[in-house]
């Protein structure tokens, strides 16, 4: 098994096909979307492939060290142009192909007009612990 991060962006990914802000959907379309996401996670729990799922606030700040005895420097909130992570799901699957398949399904979550959003999700393999047997 190998772990993959399915990363969803507020900004920074190519535009989705069905790219309508959520507050412009109908309440029914919203419900259908949330239900799809919940069912997706529940199904992966059922197949033993779900690890974790978290959503992030769109508010955030960059921080860096500014030397001994000084408070850290901050930059932000993020400017409009910067990449912005919306949330993630971590899955533990047999193959890379399975990770792509699941990311595809997640990207097909229904949006405005009840049609799939076709949003871009980023699939990133985890760097795992080294195996015991190496030769």
């Amino acid at each position: 098994m190998a772990k993959y991060l399915l990363l969803k962006h507020y900004r920074g990914a190519p535009a989705a096909v069905n790219d309508v802000p959520m507050d412009q959907w109908t309440p029914e379309e919203l419900s259908a979307h949330l239900q799809y996401m919940e069912d997706f996670a529940a199904r992966l729990e059922g197949t033993g492939e779900f690890v974790d799922s978290q959503a992030l606030s769109p508010e955030g700040t960059f921080v860096r060290y500014d030397g001994e005895g000084r408070p850290p420097i901050t930059d932000g909130p993020f400017a409009e142009t910067k990449d912005l992570i919306a949330g993630w799901m971590v899955i533990d699957v047999e193959t890379y192909e399975r990770a792509l398949e699941l990311a595809g399904e997640l990207s097909a979550a229904p949006g405005a007009g009840g049609k799939p959003i076709h949003e871009w999700l980023e699939v990133r393999p985890f760097l795992a612990a080294p195996p015991t047997i190496t030769e």
């Binding site: 959520m22 507050d23 412009q24 959907w25 309440p27 919203l30 419900s31 949330l34 919940e38 606030s57």
Partner: protein, 381 residues
């Protein structure tokens, strides 16, 4: 075996070990070990005297640990040299434990964890699951907290207000994992109310009961948040409401009003209304005025603006909102609500979308997005 009943014995047993000379940290560890053994042994071999059993086993665990730890040898000799008092409980052992676990030298998160373990008898694993952190992290948090309070004398009187803040935090954490923290907070507050006659302890207990009573109606079948005005009031727990109102009324007769009693009074007025339309908003505003006087908190002023919007007019609610910092949590959501009531759906939709972006949790975000979507759909048609 009733695990909740078993856990109610925890603070008493810690107190008894303390009076036999064990320091708090060692006594607490020994009692946790004894509880774990009880869970293992009691289903097949239930003791006639559960308390006596726990004291005996915990004391043995304590002596074993003290013997194994050479640095504790001195303490062990002292403990064994003292005459052993009987297992009868000194009246305020449990109370002292509440004060110790909520000691002002602890951070809120540490005080919460220590209270749940030493007073509540929960295992580190259960507490870690409830707060969604790794068990090792929670174990460290608890052992650091025990070190922090190690110098505190067990019999120092404490401040009830610090204990109430800890219990309030536990209650507000709600529900995740297999431990119902809200129910646990009620149990611990009930136990505290039985030990100490204090109007704000009663006020907090009433507040918890009245909010807990609404829990079945607060989420829809699909998990979505149902706002107070739209809740199916037949699903409110009338037994809890009756108890909450009763506890509150007794507290109020003492004429020593505090923050929790005032909050409970507001919850009681909501509970009293058979429909949302029957809510006595005028009285609720009066209670918010009391709360502003008691706390001078901007969050209270924000909630007061909602009540003013209902008691008087949405325009008056917006006027009450005007002086408050827009950066306050939920400010945009309250403004959106009042603007919609004031007949301005365009501004309301914009503010709901803004509120969704700064929502502190997912159910609230979904709820606020839904409100924006509802208004935008209306505006399109």
């Amino acid at each position: 075996m009733d695990e909740a009943l078993l856990r109610t014995l925890t603070p008493t047993v810690i107190g008894i070990l303390g009076r036999r000379g064990a320091d708090f940290a060692a006594a607490e560890d020994a009692v946790q070990d004894a509880l774990a053994e009880a869970v293992r042994v009691w289903p097949d071999d239930p003791p006639r005297d559960p308390m006596g059993w726990l004291v005996t086993v915990a004391w043995r665990k304590f002596l074993d640990a003290a013997r194994a730890d050479t640095s504790r040898r001195h303490r062990e000799v002292r403990a064994e040299g003292e005459p052993l008092p009987g297992p009868g409980e000194a009246a305020d052992d449990t109370l002292q434990l509440y004060f110790l676990c909520a000691h002002p030298s602890l951070t809120p998160a540490s005080a919460v964890a220590l209270t749940l373990r030493a007073v509540g008898g929960l295992t580190t694993r259960q507490i870690a699951q409830a707060y969604l952190v790794p068990e090792a992290t929670m174990a460290q948090r608890i052992s650091r907290a025990k070190r922090t309070v190690s110098g505190v004398r067990f019999n120092q009187p404490g401040d009830v207000a610090t204990v109430l803040r800890v219990l309030y935090l536990v209650f507000n954490e709600g529900y995740s994992g297999d431990v119902d923290l809200a129910a646990e907070a009620i149990r611990l507050t009930r136990q505290l109310a039985a030990k100490i006659n204090h109007e704000e302890v009663a006020g907090l207990l009433a507040l918890m009961l009245l909010h807990h009573a609404r829990r079945p109606a607060r989420t829809g079948p699909d998990g979505r948040l149902v706002p107070l005005a739209e809740q199916d009031r037949s699903r409110w727990n009338t037994r809890l409401i009756a108890e909450g109102v009763d506890v509150l009324q007794t507290a109020l007769t003492r004429d020593r009003l505090g923050e929790f009693q005032a909050q409970a009074a507001i919850a009681a007025l909501h509970a009293d209304a058979r429909t949302a339309a029957e809510t006595d908003w005028v009285q609720i505003v009066e209670w918010y005025d009391e709360l502003v006087r008691l706390t001078d908190s901007p969050v209270v002023r924000l909630n007061r603006a909602v009540a003013v919007g209902e008691a008087d007019s949405p325009r008056a609610g917006l006027a009450a909102l005007a002086g408050l910092d827009p950066a306050l949590p939920r400010h945009a959501a309250v403004a959106a609500y009042l603007h919609e009531r004031d007949g301005d759906p365009v501004t309301a939709a914009r503010l709901y979308a803004e509120a969704a972006r700064s929502a502190p949790n997912l159910p609230e975000r979904d709820h606020l997005t839904r409100q924006a979507a509802r208004l935008n759909a209306q505006l399109r048609s």
